[in-house]
Symmetry: C2
């Protein structure tokens, strides 16, 4: 059996009894029941995901996948294509947003060239897993072959497995790819059935004309390639992108290894939706980092019944939201593990 | 001149030119303009508040003020009154929510007895600044005298000055006081003119009957004492609480010393509103930590045009939201200080 199918088969059920047990412990801590809101929800989900009554989040890693997009030929982005490769080098030097926020969260950053249109041979610190040198322009044909799409997902699965075995406790997803809000919006439209006009946003900050070109390109790509929404790999291949496939793979691999995975913003959520449509159990292992300002983001999150942890008007990608949300997730776990119970502290309980 | 009046006079104007200068620097960092949303807003406000182009947030402190409330005689809380003192001891042992989240944020916790109905003499680690041994039941007369209310505020002002001089870079506010959502709702109603029924919530989790008693007690307190909304000290004295006064003082002292102050949830925001009505410039120094589930919270924040940083369904108080929000504020500053610029990183700029 191929790696993707075998990994999907390995995804365990999350046991709701573990969540209830964790909540019972939380209800004994010196605070009114429920008064820490979503911190309590996050803590009990960590217990259920890991299957451990005392989970750890000591070792954290954000996977930032980089890829280029043929559809940038249509003038859908505010930045020139070479910025993808330039930003990869910025990541390796530690000067980008994701580096700063990952350091803040105590997370490592693994940067993966999965589809950049640049030869990085000999670049140290970069993980080269190139499946394509940029996708093809999906307004003229499929972005990738089916085989390429599967290979992208399997890159993510292998990285997830490797890092789970190396003892990492939580994964974050991230992306870099000039033009990649376009395939992400296309995936959102195909998978949720919401029109392209409603899932398309301004990305890195395009004007009205480029926005109109972007909507048209997405609609043309969907019409031309006619991906079957019930076949997530076909959607990823025809109108998706390499980094989106890598992200889907990280999520599938996280689920198979019972590792919680923090899904960054719009592009990562497109990858998460591919994973969720391949196996809905993957959603049980996801934390939605933040509410992106891209309009298609909320639509995809709703489709997976995910609630974002942060809402800070961010739209940078790279995994920045995932890194920042990790600090809240870690705070939730510390509440669960470090707070005193009523009995320990000699505090009286509620009277009614 | 008394300490309160003298401190109000010392509050500086925040220079909008400094904010613009900080934003110009942020716009040169390797990311699309505006793409880090509120992190950018927080960073530029830190520059304007401190008056420094390279602010520090290394040393952080949360002030948790504890006090009791005579109005608990009316059966407005789910917990017995002795829990205030028990929780103070829990704070000192490090087992409460605020201890866990402050450790997570790298903040110290200063616990102040400003009005607990318990004799803490000889308790080490506690700052004893007792102004009252619990307030009086405001359904039967004023909660405090005007002089007591001023003394509470001045306790906060002195603590703020002391910690500013000791080199702390950011303050958080917190509270502990069984029954204290009742005076906070009363302050909200008087100050904003919104009816008591709309600003009153379930506090630590009361049932319908206690909720009805709470609304009645608040309305009776306002009717009986008829505080003038234009006289914030009178409002604090007549229907407020000692810890709310201490919090107002921290905020006034923070502003006078150009120290950013993170306002926790509902009770802290009542204190912030007292400070803001004494001098509206204090609002320029505040960060609203989170959106509490108490209905009166949003109403008071709107009155001060504050936008919460987090929205996690929290309603514990103690300063827990302030501590958690400090981690986001610190992340914002790191973005501002540590990210590479386009020129440094050799990354191309936007093309349109």
């Amino acid at each position: 059996m191929d790696l993707l199918s075998a990994t999907l088969k390995r995804i365990p059920e999350v046991d709701p009894a573990l969540e209830r047990k964790a909540q019972a412990r939380i209800d004994n801590l010196t605070k009114p029941v429920g008064s820490l809101g979503r911190l309590e929800e996050i803590a009990r989900r960590l217990v259920a995901i890991t299957g451990s009554e005392t989970p750890s989040l000591e070792r954290k890693v954000v996977f930032t996948f980089a890829g280029d997009h043929g559809v940038t030929e249509e003038g859908v982005s505010a930045y020139p294509r070479e910025v993808t490769a330039q930003m990869v080098l910025n990541f390796l030097r530690g000067g980008a947003g994701i580096n700063v926020l990952a350091r803040h969260a105590g997370a490592e950053v693994v940067v993966i060239d999965i589809g950049v249109d640049h030869d990085f041979s000999g670049t140290s610190g970069l993980r080269i897993e190139k499946v394509v040198r940029g996708t093809r322009n999906f307004t003229k044909g499929p972005a990738m072959t089916r085989e390429e799409a599967v290979r992208c997902v399997e890159v993510g699965i292998r990285l997830a497995g490797e890092h789970a075995r190396a003892g990492f406790h939580i994964f974050g997803t991230g992306d870099m790819g000039i033009g990649n809000t376009t395939p992400s919006a296309a995936i959102a439209a195909v998978m949720t059935g919401v029109p392209a006009t409603k899932v398309t946003g301004r990305g890195t900050g395009i004007g009205d004309e480029a926005f109109a070109r972007k909507v048209l390109a997405i609609q043309r790509g969907i019409d031309l390639n006619a991906p079957d929404p019930r076949d997530p790999i076909a959607v990823l291949a025809k109108v998706g992108g390499a980094e989106i496939g890598g992200i889907a793979g990280i999520i599938i691999g996280a689920a198979a290894n019972r590792v919680p995975v923090v899904v960054d913003g719009f592009i990562s959520t497109a990858g998460a939706l591919v994973a969720e449509r391949l196996d809905s159990r993957t959603a049980d292992f996801m934390f939605a980092a933040h509410r992106s300002v891209e309009p298609g983001h909320a639509i995809m999150m709703e489709a997976m019944r995910l609630q974002p942890i942060l809402d800070l008007g961010m739209r940078l990608g790279e995994g920045t939201g995932a890194a920042l949300a990790m600090t809240i997730i870690e705070a939730s776990l510390k509440i669960y593990k470090e707070m005193a119970s009523f009995d320990q502290a000699g505090v009286s309980r509620k009277t009614d």
